[in-house]
């Protein structure tokens, strides 16, 4: 069934006579279960706000988010969020950060240790179990953050420009790693980025947002076959169309 966004709008402020800030305007969309959706749009357009609403960290001014056709229950439905700045708990080690989600769910110590060690192994973090986040590289931190989210087996994983602050080589490696993971654990992913290459390489579907207030200006299905070659003609074709959609809206702003 997946996740549905129905007429989401968000307005900040507007009380006490100050100018209200329209961030989102009537966002409709849906992701089928197990699909990879990217949301792309210019910087500062409200992508993060949209994710925060889906994650339940922010309330929409109007509209709603449905999961499997009903409203999300944030206390029980697991909606994972991978933050742009990792947001690992600096006072917890790699192992403790990854375990935390299971600890909150009340899993017995033995079980969650076994699960966490499995993730640590698969995520190439062996040997760094007892390190604190400040002792890890950016790429490792983001792997810990992804492991921390995935270990709770969420229905949907939201990712907010997770690779934005990494160098391009690490970014490419992590994109490939994420796809490999997604092959084994078919979770629904909503991935926010402003990088067209990244969106085309990763996603099944792409939503293109306008600059603020964000509206959906285009949707694409990325139908080039997986595993993908970043430089294949099919990928290039989609990339061109997405870029054109972004350009067109920029021009319409200038007029």
């Amino acid at each position: 069934m997946g996740l549905e966004l129905i007429g989401l709008s968000k307005v900040f402020g507007g009380k006490n006579g100050d100018e209200p800030l329209h961030v989102l305007e009537d966002i409709h969309g849906r992701v089928e279960e197990g699909r990879f959706l990217s949301i792309i749009g210019p910087s500062g357009c409200g992508k993060t706000t949209l994710l925060r609403i889906i994650a339940g960290l922010e309330r929409p001014s109007s509209g709603q988010v449905l999961i499997d056709g009903r409203e999300i229950a944030y206390e029980s439905d697991r909606i994972g969020l991978v933050f742009q700045e990792y947001a690992l708990f600096p006072w917890l080690t790699t192992l403790q950060n990854i375990e935390l989600g299971l600890e909150i769910m009340g899993a017995p110590k033995k079980e969650r240790l076994a699960a966490a060690m499995d993730y640590i192994y698969r995520f190439g973090l062996s040997g760094f179990e007892d390190r604190y986040p400040r002792e890890l590289s950016g790429g490792m931190r983001q792997r810990v953050a992804i492991a921390r989210t995935l270990i709770t087996d969420p229905k949907v994983v939201l990712m907010d420009e997770p690779f934005g602050s990494l160098d391009s080589q690490t970014r490419n490696d992590l994109q490939a790693f994420l796809l490999k993971l997604w092959d084994t654990q078919r979770v629904t992913i909503i991935f926010v980025t402003h990088n067209v290459d990244e969106a085309v390489f990763l996603s099944d579907d792409i939503l293109v947002l306008s600059s603020r207030p964000a509206r959906i200006i285009d949707r694409f299905q990325v139908d080039c076959p997986r595993p993908r070659d970043r430089t294949s003609a099919a990928c290039n074709m989609i990339r061109k169309r997405v870029l054109e959609a972004l350009e067109a809206q920029k021009k319409s702003m200038l007029v």
């Binding site: 994650a55 909606i79 933050f83 947001a87 600096p90 917890l92 909150i104 604190y132 921390r148």
Partner: protein, 251 residues
């Protein structure tokens, strides 16, 4: 090698000793370093007043500080965590704190004596007042300054209040709580000696020891006592710092 940190103290002591030898510094006002060491020896073996040896004075003072500090931490940390977590509670409690906090702990001595009499309880109460506010205020600011993203990350993991407290709020505030405890114990220690000047009329205590030395005109023993107060202060701070660096290894 960080030997350069010893240059200035050594040079000062040498100049001081030299000026004392040629009698530029009058020894009845400021005894020479060697005389202070001799005074220290007298405090150790003869005592001030005789029979009351320095280590026992120090232990009594430390005990009073430990008592006042323990109450300050036991009350200040939980209240600080609560206030940090609740803007409403902060609004309610802050006005009271703002009025009481600027009152110097020593200004409480008369009322402390009225309430608790002269002795251990009064001294501990004065120290409590000195240590309490730094601990409370640093705990509050420790909680308030935790990056909200950690609370959000916990929420997206469906954390319950219990987890938010033990996994985010408490560890996030810990570095600041330690700063508060170090400032608090420092102020407590400073307050103690002054409290003993007036609050303890007999028996043991470094402040009392120094006042007795003044009564019988022993400036060497006064200064030896001051030196010991300083050194114990450094020691307390060092112990807390060592403990702190073990608890907040993640920083």
């Amino acid at each position: 090698m960080k030997w350069d940190r010893y240059i200035l103290p050594l040079a000062l002591i040498l100049v001081w000793e030299g000026l004392s030898l040629i009698r530029v510094i009058p020894s009845h006002l400021l005894p020479s370093p060697i005389n202070i060491l001799l005074g220290l020896r007298d405090l150790m073996v003869i005592g001030m007043p005789p029979g009351y040896l320095l280590p026992y004075h120090a232990l009594h003072s430390l005990y009073r500080v430990a008592l006042g500090f323990a109450f300050a931490a036991l009350l200040g940390i939980p209240l600080g965590l609560l206030m940090g977590g609740s803007p409403r509670l902060r609004r309610i409690v802050n006005p009271v704190i703002e009025v009481i906090r600027p009152i110097p702990p020593l200004a409480w001595i008369p009322i402390a004596i009225l309430w608790f009499g002269i002795g251990m309880k009064s001294a501990a109460f004065i120290i409590f007042l000195g240590a309490f506010f730094p601990i409370l205020l640093n705990t509050v600011s420790g909680v308030v300054s935790i990056n909200p993203i950690y609370f959000e990350a916990a929420r997206t993991l469906n954390a319950k209040p219990k987890h938010i407290f033990f996994k985010v709020l408490l560890p996030g505030a810990t570095p600041s709580i330690f700063v508060g405890m170090r400032i608090g114990v420092g102020i407590g220690w400073m307050t103690l000696v002054a409290a003993e000047f007036t609050g303890v009329k007999s028996g043991y205590g470094l402040g009392y020891m120094i006042m007795t030395a003044r009564d019988i005109q022993r400036p060497d023993e006064i200064l030896a006592g001051m030196l010991i107060i300083g050194l114990i202060g450094v020691l307390i701070n060092g112990v807390l710092r060592a403990y702190e660096s073990r608890v907040v290894r993640w920083q």
